[in-house]
């Protein structure tokens, strides 16, 4: 089952299948494991409490027709971009170092010969 969950799907084959929710399409394509399924059984009592809570009417309206994409919190981004440069931290690879290869850095004053 675990092997099946980790199987990567061809996104073109599932992209337009209306019986598969878009979130599921992405999950299958990225071959994410269904951790939630295991967690669901453990949290049944908590779910009951949540079920009877009044749902906020404000939250859903704007979120489905928005321009600004969602970002991680500033704290997470700080960790991502400020990991120690000398360490072998994997996150650092995605931070400034990763971006530096894509930036055209201007020469400093005095560097140019002209």
């Amino acid at each position: 089952l675990k092997a099946q969950a980790q199987r990567r799907w061809d996104i073109n084959k599932i992209l337009y299948l209306n019986n598969i929710e878009p979130s599921e399409v992405i999950r299958r394509w990225k071959a994410e494991q269904r951790v939630e399924e295991d967690e669901e059984e453990e949290d049944i009592e908590e779910d009951d409490d949540q079920f009877f809570k009044k749902k906020s009417t404000q939250e859903s309206s704007a979120d489905l027709d928005q321009f600004v994409p969602s970002y991680p919190s500033v704290d997470e981004l700080k960790i991502k971009f400020n990991a120690d440069a000398t360490s072998d931290d994997e996150e650092y690879e995605n931070g400034y170092k990763f971006l530096k290869s894509r930036f055209l850095v201007a020469p400093k004053v005095g560097d140019s010969n002209g």
Partner: protein, 372 residues
């Protein structure tokens, strides 16, 4: 969710509400949107959605809108895009960007030129809608790539939440039969980061505090950073105090990727500057040639383009749930599918993080070019 019945494309829910109406208008196909917040405590359309329907009615000729008694169902029979000169008063629940953004999809294919003055909030911290700079720098630049060169957006007055009082003039003098076919297959380098930090009815030092904190985050990139201060005073500064910042990474060949933020009551300008700068870096990490907020416009323009294959390189992180929803909505209306080619299949190192979206244009013809 959608289905087709007697030529009417049916959607469920309020997701991509504006996009679905825009696609209907461009295609000329009537649509029916059902179950709009039907399980919500306040079911049906919100005031900004009704306002958007009114705007759509104003810029088209012959559109017919039917809203059910509860507001949970809308039937839209599109007319011809005519444009023209008008003023639209936007409700204060949404910034004017919410209304301007969909106009970008229609304006170049109109019968007459678009010249609309939008009145209301120019930015909002409560909703995730496009700000004026985001449209000006992020979306108009994308339109240019598709051959729409004479579109402009001018801020006459800035209007911060909650009271607004802003005015924005959107003009589109470029009437084209259909968008050009693009082949954006490079991953160009970022040549500079620019931006604007603005404030209305607060101390001008707020702007400098935002700029300094944003600069501090962007400094390690080593690229040129140039953020302009834009302080609004007097009548042109609207009715409420506020501040915000927009940052844009400029790529070679004129592409731009951006992030923006608006200050909330009680928040610090330094925190906002820092947050928006980090978000820009995150967006750049997840982008190739366009940002996530430019994908929808690009895909729609590619779909309605000439009957030719258009190609756009995307980062794999940009392919998310929202992306799939957009593609499905486009398919439901235009019956066109986008093919995604995995960069991992290419023998070039570094390409594995990208996908190429390929779509064949439908050969759309603008209302102004149609022969009666």
């Amino acid at each position: 969710m959608s289905s087709k019945n007697k030529g009417v494309v049916t959607f469920e829910g309020h997701r991509n509400f504006r996009l679905r109406l825009i696609l209907s208008t461009l295609s000329g196909k009537p649509i029916k949107i059902t179950k709009i917040r039907s399980n919500d405590m306040n079911p049906g359309l919100k005031d900004h959605e009704v306002s958007f329907l009114r705007l759509l009615e104003a810029v088209t000729n012959g559109s017919r809108i039917e809203i059910s008694y509860t507001g949970t169902t809308v039937v839209f029979n599109p007319g011809i895009i005519i444009g023209g000169e008008l003023t639209h008063n936007c409700p204060t629940t949404k910034p004017v960007g919410y209304f301007i953004e969909p106009m970008l999809y229609l304006a170049p294919f109109s019968k007459k030129k678009f010249s609309i003055i939008f009145k209301g909030l120019t930015a909002s911290d409560k909703s995730k809608d496009a700000g004026i700079e985001a449209i000006k720098w992020g979306l108009l630049s994308v339109m240019e790539k598709f051959g729409v060169r004479e579109a402009s957006l001018h801020i006459l007055k800035r209007g911060s939440p909650p009271l607004g009082g802003g005015e924005v003039h959107f003009m589109c003098n470029s009437l084209i039969p259909q968008p050009l076919t693009i082949h954006a297959l490079d991953a160009p380098k970022f040549s500079a980061i620019r931006g604007v930090a603005y404030c209305t009815r607060v101390s001008p030092s707020v702007v400098n505090r935002m700029i300094d904190s944003a600069r501090q985050v962007l400094r390690p990139t080593g690229v040129e950073v140039n953020i302009t201060a834009d302080v609004w005073r007097g009548e042109s500064s609207g009715l409420s105090p506020g501040f915000g910042v927009t940052l844009v990474a400029e790529l070679k060949k004129g592409w731009r990727i951006l992030t923006e933020g608006v200050g909330s009551a009680g928040s610090l300008p330094e925190d906002l500057g820092e947050k928006v700068a980090y978000e820009l870096l995150d967006e750049l990490t997840k982008s190739c040639i366009i940002g996530r907020n430019q994908i929808m416009l690009s895909l729609v323009y590619m779909t309605i383009g000439k009957e030719d294959i258009g190609r756009l390189k995307l980062h794999k992180d940009q392919i998310d749930e929202d992306f799939v929803w957009i593609l499905r909505d486009i398919k439901n209306v235009f019956d066109t599918e986008v093919f995604l080619k995995d960069g991992a299949e290419e023998p070039i190192p570094g390409e594995e993080q990208y996908m190429t979206a390929t779509v064949k244009g439908i050969g759309f013809t603008a209302a102004s070019k149609k022969i009666a």
